[in-house]
Amino acid sequence: MAAENASGYIQHHLQNLTFGRLPSGDWGLAHTAQEAKEMGFWAFHLDTLGWSVALGVIFVLLFRMAASKATSGQPGALQNFVEVLVEFVDGSVKDTFHGRNPLIAPLALTIFVWIFLMNAIDLIPVDWIPHAAMAISGNEHIFFRAVPTTDPNATLGMALSVFALIIFYSIKVKGIGGFIGELTLHPFSSKNIAVQVILIPVNFLLEFVTLVAKPISLALRLFGNMYAGELVFILIAVMFGSGLLWLSGLGVVLQWAWAVFHILIITLQAFIFMMLTIVYLSMAHEDNH
């Protein structure tokens, strides 16, 4: 892609493969960023969905393979690997979540491994997968972003799912009244009923922002980290396209250094997403007010 200028290269890299209703009225792939934008809400990023589902399937199949052969005797290599992860997640859940809910631990495991896998795609050099997509589709200008977590749709999709679980368990554990009470009667409360009524909107505003901030921050933290990491990789890749030997050499070093650092980031972000999910759901299960 060195034929285009640097900003074109970067923008091309940041555009998803979007499937939706074209201006002509037919359904199809967007050819430009403008077209993709005009598709509105009812459009799909095929690259994000494809990669995330493929990685999710790899996760469940791999783990299912280990689980179906799980033995309490001497474990094999795969079972050992899976057990390490399961124990790690189980320990994290037990430390943080004190209720009894059979969903939480598998949820945490899925989040951790899936996000880790999606993030890990970031370590593949930025041009490889888009070039492969070009070669396969035969379209020189096809948009393709391989890392699902650099797409806010993916992170927001997961965060909203977690949010739905938070709401669901809040209502299930505390009842609708309890949930509404939690939103409106704290942090300011008064014995005087008239004063309490006045305080309700204030409380609601504060608590509602707190509640909504949970999925937003969850989604944006992961997205922001991965997007920034991706952008740095793309900028480093621009160095290769400069044609200058010393700049390319520097790019190689930087690429390596950033990739090493990124190994930490992708693991950490997956872990943070998992931990915060556990914490939020733990809060949803507790009557702490």
């Binding site: 998803n16 799909f44 179906s68 309490s72 749709n153 999709g157």
Partner: protein
């Protein structure tokens, strides 16, 4: 960078993966883990118990050994005592028997001596009377002098 229906697809996929994980991945793995933990705990327990049992057994063996030794010593002691006893008894018996035999022999000898003495005395009496008759030339009234002769015989 547009927010669109992708996030719905992502949510659906997310829930499907979570449910699959909850149904088919988590339970077998966690069961295997718990079972292994239990097995290991039981194994360690059993090892501890075995060590304790071994200690107890060794103690018991030592005790029994000591007991057996004392018993053996006792038996030997008793046997020795019994042996001396038997020897003593035998000796006593022998002594008594010897005494008895000796006494019997002595009695027999005494008896014989007395018999001989009596015979000698009788013969001596008649010899003395015969002698005196011959010397005096006269017949001594045997009845008149019987007392004297008997007295004489007793003196011999």
């Amino acid at each position: 960078m547009n927010i669109n229906a992708t996030l719905i697809g992502q949510s659906v996929a997310f829930f499907i993966f979570v449910l699959f994980c909850m149904k088919f991945v988590w339970p077998p793995v966690i069961t295997a883990l718990r079972e292994r933990q239990k097995k290991i705990a039981e194994g360690l327990d059993a090892a501890n118990r075995a060590t304790r049992d071994l200690e107890l057994a060794q103690e018991k063996v030592g005790e029994q050994l000591r007991e057996a030794k004392t018993q053996a010593a006792e038996i030997i002691e008793q046997a020795k005592k019994r042996a001396t006893q038997i020897v003593d008894e035998a000796r006593d018996q022998a002594r008594v028997e010897a005494e008895r035999v000796k006494a019997q022999a002595q009695a027999e000898i005494e008896q014989e001596i007395n018999g001989v003495k009596d015979a000698l005395r009788a013969q001596l009496g008649s010899l003395a009377v015969g002698g005196a008759e011959k010397i005096l030339g006269a017949t001594i009234d045997r009845n008149a002098h019987a007392e004297l002769v008997d007295k004489l015989a007793a003196e011999i």
